[in-house]
């Protein structure tokens, strides 16, 4: 199941680089694309603004199929205070831009499953696929706007996983 989660993250990261290479984050001294997996980073005291955070939550499995299917629930969390140059008055527009970017990078709704233990990553036999995101309402915390979109990510377990 980790391969499916890794493949989903890398697919979204690759697509984000293609549509908005300016969305980046400085993390542990390196400038990286603005999408991170929460459980693969040091704990955040405050989630960073203007980047996509993937938070893995629920898990369901169907073992009655020819290949076991896993359904993993992923929250995509993003928030913004707008830009300093506009005094934060563009925070609504900034959040809308992130909504649109998420809609873009989530499509197409599938990607090949890769095993990132080896370098370069090995292409596995199956694909990871997912459903349309369910966008939650905007959460307002003073001048910060935040949204969470839920995505169910499906994959089949392969031999050796």
């Amino acid at each position: 199941m980790q391969n499916a989660k890794d493949s989903f993250y890398v697919a979204l990261r690759t697509r984000l680089i293609a549509i908005n290479p300016q969305r980046t984050i400085l993390l542990r001294g390196a400038v990286r694309p603005g999408i991170v997996v929460e459980d693969a980073e040091a704990p955040f005291s405050q989630l960073p603004d203007d980047v996509f955070i993937l938070r893995w939550l629920g898990l369901g499995v169907d073992v009655d199929l020819d290949s076991t299917m896993a359904a993993e629930e992923c929250d995509v969390i993003y928030q913004t205070c707008g830009t300093q140059s506009f005094g934060g008055l563009d925070r609504g527009r900034a959040l809308s831009q992130m909504d649109e970017e998420l809609m873009s990078i989530i499509q197409p709704f599938y990607t090949p499953k890769l095993n990132f233990i080896s370098q370069p990553p090995a292409t596995m036999l199956t694909q990871v696929f997912w459903d349309e995101p369910g966008f939650g309402p905007i959460a307002i915390q003073r001048d910060r706007l935040a949204r969470t979109a839920k995505v169910l990510v499906y994959s089949y377990q392969e031999q050796g996983e």
Binding site: L65, D66, S67, F109, L125, Q127, F129, D131, Y156, Q159
Partner: protein, 324 residues
Amino acid sequence: MAANWYSNPAPVARRVRAYFAPVNRTAQAPAIFDPSEQSSFNLDSPPAPWLSLGWIEKFVRHAASKSVPIMTGIPAAPLEQVRESLAAQVSLQFLSWTKLTMALATGSQHMNLLAPAIGAAAAADGARAASAVTVQTGSTATFVALASTDASKFAPGSIVAIDIDYTGQTGYVGSPVSGAYLRQPLSDVDYIRRITYNVALVSQSSSAGLTLAEPLPGGAPVSGTRLQGVIGFVDREGGSFYQEWSGLFILQGGQGERVFFYYPRLQTMIGAQESSVPLSANSKSSVARILLQAQFMAMPVTDPLDGERVVCYRSFVPASNALV
């Protein structure tokens, strides 16, 4: 050594894609779909002559063929089965209103509302039309060459119909899509442009002609073709004409596998009707999407492979590396 295969469970698909292609009514020749050669096409750009109708909803196939046993002995017991009747139906909802989806979802001919002539008497399916302009040589499926004075009459955003004049033909009229069947000659010189499927939106207008937002279904205009403005579309409940198209429906599974349902001949079997779907299931809002409801009867063809009469072909192309 790691296995290089896996067992793929039943396909998991999000929606169904629909494609239609005109049947040559005069020659009774449906469009062919060959899954051995065409199964991997990009779903957004189907091979000619197939036209994409986008995603559809509530796609239901109903096999209505009946088999009956031949009984023998005392007490009677089945000896063999025979196919008593051959029939199938398909129903679906289109998610968009276009010339093609409207036409497919109506039981009779589908017509263009041509821009009316000034002062023309009112008519339910469009008044006498303003004069057509002549298409010049050098036109393509996406560019219509016109005299500069004619081109200036059509601004970007206009809809235009492009086809030949009606000169008294009877039988099936319209090409490549037969849009109507005439038992007797009419007097309307614009009749073919009323029922033509060569309709498109103008994206740019210049002194040389009109650039179209999408290719004409019939390809580049032929010699003698003329062009008229279109206000909208109209169909009628009643009449004697039945639309007939070849239909192709595709399910793409989560692993890339594809299921094809190919119907060589589909005839619309219900009149124009719509269904209303609320946009929000959780509110009492009255805002609803109005979807075109279509239902087709599958007509038989004779398979040249073995001479069997059939109404539908179901093909399955498995995912890569999946056990078969």
